[in-house]
């Protein structure tokens, strides 16, 4: 049988196809190279802006700060770095598709610039409470004991114990860690935050703008060495797992869940028309179809471990997390409907069995505050709006930034709704922390915590106010975003570091603390004019630290001395410490002029012996020790 000669047509068409394919891949490579070069260029700009920022900040003198705090010593040229970083970020944001590592570098640079700023020019870690927490950890490391009767925070000791263990096991000196803790923990938030945002929208620009805005708006300063800083990481991680793997399918009806029929009977029919969540979210890359049993058990175990660590380390965050999970369950946003029951059981068990010391002393007071929003509002806002004129400006800026964020977030939610996206999951998580206000004043800090827990989700809606839909957007919009970023960075430096004059610690102050720790024997009392002094750091368990804020503020010096003597065990000495940071605190928060401060210190000096002094502080000892108890 004769074989027909091969037709030239397939060969030609194949050649054309091969040629086109080669041309296509060459073009693709070229484009990929171009994108790579642009990405590399933008990353270099981010690094340059960070280096420029550091170069300017290292020459600053913290002693020149006025009542506005850190912003008062930052020169204008430092803001060029923020301008450069913001411009570079919006250029990276506008690329389609975005290059994730490039955007991550920008966000990390922003975190280091804004949250690590004091570490570049202050000699020692800032903020007395961070030192106190380190004092707790070192007390555990030294003695292996917990002290719930001396401080209620020991009823939630996991963070302090973990830090004590990490320090002992690695051999790391923990004091320098305090200085870099805020930028490091803020960078750690980035991973879970990104996971959460990418479940909220498939638009990469919206996701990264929301992340960027989160870093520009977290002014509450809870990222110092503290259980709450660690717990925000845990909260974000739990929500990242739940939203990535246990979210209801996009479009799932609110009314089909366990609480659906019950809720539907109780709300107006017009509202009931809103039934579905935004369909824009997506499953994380790499996940297809359903999870295997092993994966489900693994993920639920991870949630349990994260929540367990949260319950054992902080008194408030687990309640915020429970509120969010309850909201997601009630609105049928997650599949793990039993999770909130598990959380309630774990939380109440801890309170009853492990935090019983705290509950025994505070239960009546805690119950009294529930449902008293008037009292809570007074202690959270009214009572805090006091101090020097500069400090009042900072407080108003904080209030303005908070209300401004909530307003812009509301506009963002409405713009998303108008474009057909009901972001119910994010909305539930943004609103849930407000329930905490009805429960407790939390020492006048509850509104700060509400802001802290809701800011990631508010940031999403704030970003949506600028980019409600996945359209490319004009250059003008991106220019505007760069300007907004620079302005917000400035406002963050004002609001977050508004107390910096009282918060930074000098080497001379540290020397005062070392001296008093050496002089004071076990069980001796060390009093201070107010709590803005890192007294708790050195051998915390050995001494009784007494903060005499109200007596000193009111000028009741007799009362102050009596109170200090009363808090001193029989036969022990009483010391009194005054430092630069305390004086700055008095000026900022009490509006106390220098002359008045000096007069009160002189009154103390008249009935005490001066044991040590330098330009930033002094140590006094009460002349008559407490009489020894009869044998």
């Amino acid at each position: 049988m004769e074989v027909p000669p091969p037709s030239p047509l397939p060969i030609v068409s194949r050649s054309i196809a091969l040629g086109a394919s080669w041309l296509g891949s060459a073009l693709e490579r070229r484009l990929a190279d171009r994108r790579m070069w642009i990405g590399l260029g933008l990353s270099t700009l981010a690094v340059i802006s960070l280096v420029g920022w550091v170069a300017v900040l290292t020459s600053l003198d913290p002693r020149s700060m006025n009542d506005l705090g850190l912003i008062s010593v930052i020169p204008v040229q430092a803001f060029l770095s923020i301008v450069l970083l913001s411009v570079s970020f919006v250029l990276a944001l506008r690329m389609q598709p975005q290059i994730t590592p490039v955007l991550m570098i920008h966000v990390a640079a922003l975190a280091v610039m804004l949250y690590g700023a004091p570490a570049f020019f202050e000699d020692l870690p800032r903020f007395a409470t961070a030192w106190l927490h380190l004092g707790f950890s070192e007390a555990i490391a030294r003695t292996g004991e917990l002290y719930p009767l001396r401080d209620a925070r020991f009823d939630w000791p996991a963070f302090f114990a973990m830090a004590a263990f990490l320090g002992s096991a690695t051999g790391f000196e923990l004091l320098p860690v305090l200085q870099w803790f805020p930028p490091v923990v803020m960078i750690l938030y980035l991973g879970p935050l990104y996971l959460i945002m990418r479940t909220a929208s498939s638009d990469g620009r919206l996701v990264w703008l929301a992340v960027w805005i989160f870093y520009l708006l977290n002014w509450v300063g809870q990222d110092y060495f503290s259980p709450q800083a660690f717990n925000v990481l845990l909260l974000l991680a739990v929500l990242a797992v739940l939203l990535s793997w246990f979210r209801r399918a996009p479009g799932a009806s609110v009314w089909s869940g366990r609480f659906g029929p019950w809720m539907r009977r109780r709300i107006p029919s017009k509202l009931a028309a809103i039934t579905v969540d935004a369909a824009g979210g997506r499953k994380p890359a790499g996940i297809s179809g359903s999870l295997s049993n092993r994966q489900q058990v693994g993920l639920v175990s991870i949630v349990a471990v994260l929540f367990g660590a949260s319950v054992a380390s902080h008194q408030l965050t687990p309640f915020a997390l429970l509120g969010g999970v309850l909201g997601l369950t009630v609105f049928n946003r997650i599949r793990l409907t039993g999770l909130s029951v598990f959380m309630i059981v774990l939380l109440s068990s801890w309170l009853m069995f492990m935090a019983s010391t705290f509950l025994a002393g505070h239960l009546a007071g805690l119950l009294e505050e529930i449902g008293r929003p008037d009292q809570i509002a007074a202690s959270n806002i009214g009572d805090r709006l006091v101090g020097s004129p500069g400090h009042l400006l900072v407080l108003r800026a904080r209030l303005g930034l908070t209300l401004g964020l909530w307003l812009v977030a509301g506009i963002g939610a409405l713009r998303r709704l108008r474009s057909g996206q009901l972001d119910l999951t994010v909305a539930v998580l943004a609103v849930a922390p407000f329930g905490l206000v009805l429960l407790q004043a939390y020492g006048g800090e509850m509104l700060l915590r509400v802001y802290l827990f809701s800011v990631p989700f508010m940031a999403f809606f704030a970003a949506a106010a600028f980019l409600p839909t996945p359209r490319a957007g004009s250059w003008r919009l991106y220019g505007f975003l760069a300007v907004v970023s620079v302005v917000l960075a400035g406002v963050l430096l004002l609001t977050r570091y508004g107390n910096e004059k009282a918060d930074f610690v000098t080497i001379e102050e540290y020397e005062v603390l070392q001296r008093v720790a050496q002089m004071a024997g076990p069980r001796d009392s060390i009093g201070s004019a107010n709590h803005s002094v890192p007294l708790g750091y050195m051998e915390w368990e050995e001494h009784r630290i007494v903060s005499l804020d109200s007596a000193f503020r009111d000028g009741a010096m007799d009362l102050l001395l009596v109170e200090l003597a009363d808090r001193t065990p029989d036969g022990q000495d009483s010391y009194f410490v005054v430092t630069r940071g305390q004086r700055a605190f008095g000026e900022l928060f009490w509006g106390m002029p220098d002359a008045e401060w000096d007069r009160r210190v002189r009154e103390v000096a008249e009935v005490t012996d001066l044991l040590y002094s330098n330009r930033d502080g002094a140590v006094y000892r009460l002349r008559d020790p407490q009489p020894a108890a009869p044998p």
Binding site: T170, F172, G286
Partner: protein, 136 residues
């Protein structure tokens, strides 16, 4: 299992091994780095491998919070038992990490060697620690 796929397991196992030796011999520079890295990454990675957690980005994002949570829970449990021994906590964390790798759904022969190598110093440390606790 390819060599590349085995690499992360080997890294964690070797890290556990190095951390155990460093803490036992108190070699400070090595101890700071190896023990530090092991504690912020090892337990979390192992547990996520055990649970076959999908998505590399998610594992990367969650490794530190999960590791620190496990560290915090173990050290708190030991503290509540009235024992303060960073070495004992370290041993338990090495055991948890290696146990999780041992039970991870991957090739048995590859991980068996890793586990034996990584568990040996942990067992030695544990025995030493238990004898100290028993003596006190």
């Amino acid at each position: 299992m390819t060599t590349a796929a085995r690499l992360p397991y080997m890294v964690v196992a070797v890290l556990g091994l190095a951390a155990s030796f460093a803490i036992a011999a108190d070699v400070l520079p090595l101890r700071e780095i190896t023990v530090g890295l092991f504690l912020v990454m090892g337990p979390g990675l192992a547990v996520m491998w055990l649970g076959a957690i999908p998505d590399r980005v998610a594992r990367l994002a969650l490794v530190v919070p999960v590791s620190l949570s496990i560290d915090a829970l173990v050290v708190s449990a030991i503290l509540y038992l009235g024992i303060w021994s960073p070495e004992l906590v370290m041993v338990l964390l090495v055991l948890i990490t290696m146990g999780a790798i041992a039970l991870a759904p991957y090739e048995r022969s590859a991980r068996a060697a890793l586990i034996v190598v990584a568990l040996l110093p942990g067992i030695v440390l544990l025995a030493g620690e238990l004898s100290v606790v028993a003596a006190t």
